[in-house]
Amino acid sequence: MMPRTLMISLFALALGAAPALASDARIADAWMAGPQRAERVQSLVADTSLTGADLAEAMTSADWRVRQQAAVVQGWRSYPELYADFSVRQAAPTRTGMLRFRGSEIADGRLAPLFLERLLQEPGVAYEQALIEVLPRTGGDWADAFVGLLQTESDVGMRAVLAASMSDAPRKQAVAGMRLGLEDASAQVRGEAARAAGWSDHGDQLIAELMAALGDSDAYVRAMAARSLGTKRAAVAFDALAPLLRDGDADVRLRTLRSMTRIDSEAMAVRPELSDLAQDPDERVARAAQSLR
């Protein structure tokens, strides 16, 4: 069994914020953030008293932070060359200027703990977003961490990318993460969560939340909720969608029109709103409506 102090140390190390058990002196000593985390990880990698069995047990923890710390220590021990390479691998600017990690070597689940550790260590939102974007592409274990970070991350842009990434998460984390996103104070995050629900294999677990999002004050949230309900062919949402055919935002009207058509094209074709939509000032809406008449 892993010593309790080590367990606490790993937990606290990963926490990146005031530990839950702050009275524990060992936690207070161990808690650190930023570049100091890297030093601490390396000290644990070199710590011969920390056995493979200890790490294996830690990786069964219910807390993702404990699992993460154990996994990255084990990764450094098991794949030192791979980790040395990717610990300094840089993201390069995409054509939009956003940074992105590239290359087929990325699709390696062993890299997930390393990239996640870098995410927890490296300053700079742009780089952090690149790390969030790459993690699902590793195929490794990242989803619990994203759900956790969605609850603690203060930067809206970061939370938005986290919410969008939930489309690739396993069911439990996908539902939890997208639900968190849909409840976020930021419309940007809510919109990305609504969009992710359409892409996720588990978005049908969030039909009620998406229908609620049709009443969101933000047009992008409404548009993405409408689109995702259509992608999921959510027949239950057909009537709830209808008022959005007269939404003040053209993109909402278009997404709703497309969505209702996907759910029930025959019912959509006889909707009374269709004649007005065929004359819509937005060219895309008008074209879409005319194609149904």
């Binding site: 390069a92 974007e133 548009a223």
Partner: protein
């Protein structure tokens, strides 16, 4: 006999007459001492001249770090245009209007924006050197003497941008080979296809490995007659020396090759020059555009800098078009359509446009268990089945085709004078990314995002992204996408498929985005396109 010339629509009327006499000497300062070049100019000819063109003197021939116009010194310059006053005209009073025009005589400044009148005496022939400070700079030069008068409309050559069918002379690319990213095989392939003497791969380390060479600058000309002055239009996408910002100055600028930047707003992705292209020559509603039409993407909310687009519109001879590219994550026109030569077409070209239905037809025809390992790390899919079974992906692509691409096709038909027979649809599908909200990115590499290298022989080499729609180890001959593409391409073209996956495709661009081709001059605007002047 008093004669009055005109600007505007009538400006072109005597252009053809004036040009053999006047513009033939543009950039030929050495000829000024001789009379040979001016034989045939009689005093009566002189009083008939209506218009006079020259090249804008915006290069840096003396390489002192200042464009020659700003030097404002009486140094012999091959961008000065010579206007000969023939012997026998006699004493003259001259007047000049125009902010960016100067008149030099006998090694001294005679007229400019502040000194607007002067006199010349004597019956000898006199050579005036006309200098222009910017493309399409305009002014009027008036003469009055001996009972005659004339006013000549002055105009500098416009900037003209190259289109794909002008003969290619050289291809530029960055070479990157660090931190796990390398385009070495692509560079080698390009050198094999074009010849190593026609490819320059500049070390990427000097430019922050910013591989998007197409996006940084655009090759063009500021031509008049035998003065083939060039302009490199340097975009505002990278600034203050970052990334590729100094590339045009360091790698391309030299005497007779000017570098200029237009536009000054905080750049967005649409300010990159993958979003600035030029069609081949087209005729639209009876109006010929012998140098093609410029096009850049955007909509009313998101578009390239107004400073740039206003400048391009002011050049007149390639009247710009703005199709909607605002639905794309990167937002560049090169991502979803391009023109390629077609020797079987009466117009000489076909417009390639991405079509999702063709892509689904192709994918649906494939064994769903076919592994496509290249797509795993970049797109989260491992097999063809992962694509064809993804309802959200199909919905997205249906929407994009109907709501965006088909709408743009209608615009392109109108703006370029096209009908369905001028359009070749090619397969392509789109995805979204967690970074880019609901804006689209090419999932299968955008083969339409290609570079055309036209040979002097008239052959056209299409430099295209390898789609890798096949398992590892399989060569291109087994790729069904390549087979389909080959069947769609017009005669007279040859397609070369390059591995641009890691460096370009995964960075949301393709071959065109990472290369830039210098080309020989296009049509003579002063003979073929003067009907487009004055219609600004």
């Amino acid at each position: 006999m008093a004669r009055t010339s005109h600007s505007g629509p009538s400006l072109a009327l005597l252009c053809a007459l004036a040009l053999p006499l006047m513009a033939a000497n543009c950039g030929k300062q050495d000829d000024t001492s001789g009379e040979t070049g001016h034989t045939g100019i009689s005093p009566s000819d002189f009083w008939e001249i209506e218009s006079f063109y020259g090249a804008p003197n915006i290069d840096d021939d003396d390489e002192n770090g200042t464009v020659d116009w700003d030097d404002a010194v009486a140094t012999v310059d091959n961008d000065w245009a010579e206007l000969v006053i023939p012997a026998g005209v006699g004493d003259l009073n001259l007047g000049l209007t125009g902010e960016s025009v100067r008149v030099w005589f006998d090694g001294a400044l005679l007229l400019d924006a502040t000194t607007t009148s002067a006199s010349l005496t004597g019956a000898d022939a006199k050579t005036l050197s006309i200098e222009f400070g910017e493309p399409v700079a305009q002014g009027e030069l008036s003469f009055d003497g001996g009972g005659d008068s004339n006013t000549i409309a002055l105009m500098a050559a416009p900037l003209t941008l190259n289109h794909h069918f002008q003969v290619g002379t050289h291809l530029w690319i960055l070479s990157v080979n660090s931190m796990g990213y390398s385009n070495a095989s692509m560079v080698t392939d390009l050198e094999t296809i074009l010849g190593s003497d026609r490819v320059t791969a500049v070390a990427g380390t000097g430019y922050g490995n910013d591989v998007w060479v197409q996006d940084e600058f655009e090759f063009g000309y500021r031509r008049i007659a035998d003065n083939d002055g060039e302009i490199i239009v340097d975009s505002i996408r990278s600034q203050q020396g970052r990334y590729l910002d100094p590339f045009p100055e360091e790698q391309l600028q030299r005497p007779d090759v000017a570098v200029g930047t237009w536009g000054s707003s905080t750049p967005n992705s649409l300010d990159s020059f993958g979003n600035l292209e030029t069609s081949p020559p087209v005729t639209v509603d009876g109006v010929e555009y012998p140098l093609g039409r410029i096009y850049y993407g955007g909509d009313d909310g998101l578009h390239p800098s107004v400073g740039l687009t206003s400048f391009l519109q002011s050049q007149q001879v390639q009247a710009p078009v703005r199709p909607d590219s605002s639905w794309l994550c990167v937002g560049h026109v090169d991502e979803f359509f391009t023109f390629v030569p077609d020797s079987s077409s009466p117009k000489g070209f076909t417009l390639l446009v991405t079509d999702v239905d063709l892509a689904w037809d192709l994918l649906d025809s494939m064994d769903p268990s076919t592994e496509i390992p290249k797509y795993t790390s970049a797109h989260h899919v491992s097999t063809i089945g992962d694509l064809v079974d993804d309802q959200a992906l199909r919905d997205l692509n249906d929407d994009i085709q109907q709501d965006e691409i088909e709408r743009v096709i209608l615009d392109l038909k109108a703006e370029f004078g096209l009908d369905d027979s001028d359009i070749t649809r090619v397969p392509g599908i789109w995805e979204e990314n967690s970074w880019c909200r609901n804006y689209a990115l090419a999932l299968i590499p955008g083969l339409v995002n290609l570079a055309v290298f036209t040979e002097a022989t008239g052959d056209h080499k299409l430099l295209i992204a390898d789609p890798f729609l096949r398992d590892s180890g399989e060569d291109q001959s087994t790729d069904p996408y390549i087979a389909l593409w080959d069947s769609l391409m017009p005669p007279g073209t040859e397609s070369f498929y390059l591995d641009n996956w890691d460096v370009y495709h995964e960075g949301w661009g393709e071959v065109h985005c990472g290369t830039n081709i210098h080309r020989e001059v296009g049509a003579d605007w002063w003979t073929d396109a003067t009907h487009l002047l004055g219609g600004e």
